[in-house]
């Protein structure tokens, strides 16, 4: 049995719009503190969710019976549909502006190679998240909205989601290394 759920929770969209407005203001003002705040809060949220879902919750979901998995997914994934894109957009936009403000984008600075390394890690994570994880997330929810959801399709898409989240969780360790190095320079 599939519980009632909405694919995109409207209250979440309202929060997302508020956060987007805050990013636009922070970029326009171009002061270090608001940019640092949004970059650190967004990045911490993104990293924690990836690590927690990829390395802790993911393997647990994989071992649950199908019905338990469906119960969890219908409550958890709609939140992820709104949360992850806004966390990623906040972190990247504020981070880029912050790097420009602090002069890290200039090729001569000692921070620049680490900044490029962070671009590469984030680039690989974006391709995985946008190309595999996000479509699987939405496809699972739409499958569960059907009168007769197909257990095999849910199983296949969830497997993709769990493996992908695990890889992203491991890649976030690289982000830790890069960001702590940048912060201590």
């Amino acid at each position: 049995m599939v519980p009632e759920f909405t694919i995109v929770p409207v209250p979440g969209l309202v929060i997302a719009v508020v956060v987007l407005v805050l990013i636009v203001i922070a970029i326009a003002v171009n002061k270090v503190w608001p940019l640092m705040f949004l970059h650190v809060v967004g990045g911490a949220g993104w990293t924690i969710v990836d690590l927690f879902v990829g390395l802790l919750v993911g393997p647990i979901i994989g071992r649950l019976p199908l019905q338990s998995r469906i119960d969890f997914v219908t409550r958890f994934m709609p939140k992820m549909v709104v949360l992850m894109p806004i966390l990623v957009a906040t972190t990247l936009a504020a981070g880029w502006q912050l790097a420009s403000n602090l002069g890290f984008t200039f090729t001569g600075t000692p921070q620049h190679p680490w900044l490029v390394a962070s671009f590469i890690v984030v680039g690989v994570m974006s391709v995985l998240a946008l190309g595999l994880l996000e479509p699987a997330n939405i496809a699972v929810l739409i499958e569960l909205k059907k009168p007769r959801p197909n257990g095999m399709v849910i199983e296949r898409l969830m497997k993709r989601f769990v493996y992908c989240a695990g890889v992203l969780g491991i890649m976030q360790v690289a982000t830790f290394v890069i960001m702590t190095k940048l912060g201590s320079m």
Binding site: I27, G123, I142, M152
Partner: protein, 126 residues
């Protein structure tokens, strides 16, 4: 996925050289390859028999709206940092490809399973 990877690689290359002058040859090649690959994917998709286009568009259009907003935010950050000229054109076109590509992937993933209740998958979930 490869097309998305190419566009991201081009974006990383350009971003890592801004604000210095940067040769646009590599990003242009990556952009063209990515756009061609995406166009090929769309043509292949259009040839699939009984593909559920209404479901594809119903999902893809909302995803397109979301990713256009994200792309606009990134573009705004570049404009605020005085990115101009050829670099801005390539970055803008890359963002357009990105904003179209992700919704296509989401719409395709949903639409390919639209008739899953008719698939040979054993008993459907109650």
């Amino acid at each position: 996925m490869v097309s998305l990877g190419l566009i991201v690689a081009g974006g990383i290359y350009l971003s890592s050289h801004i604000p210095k002058h940067v040769s646009l040859t590599a990003p242009v090649i990556l952009l063209v390859l990515s756009a061609l690959l995406m166009a090929t994917n769309m043509v292949s998709l259009a040839r699939v028999k009984e593909f559920d286009w209404p479901r594809f568009f119903s999902v893809a259009r909302w995803s397109l709206l979301a990713y256009l907003i994200i792309a606009a935010l990134i573009e705004y950050a570049f404009l605020q940092n005085h990115v101009r000229g050829g670099t801005l054109v390539i970055l803008t076109l890359s963002l357009v490809v990105f904003a179209v590509h992700v919704p296509t992937l989401i719409g395709f993933t949903v639409a390919r399973y639209v008739n899953s209740d008719q698939m040979d998958a054993g008993p459907a979930h109650p």
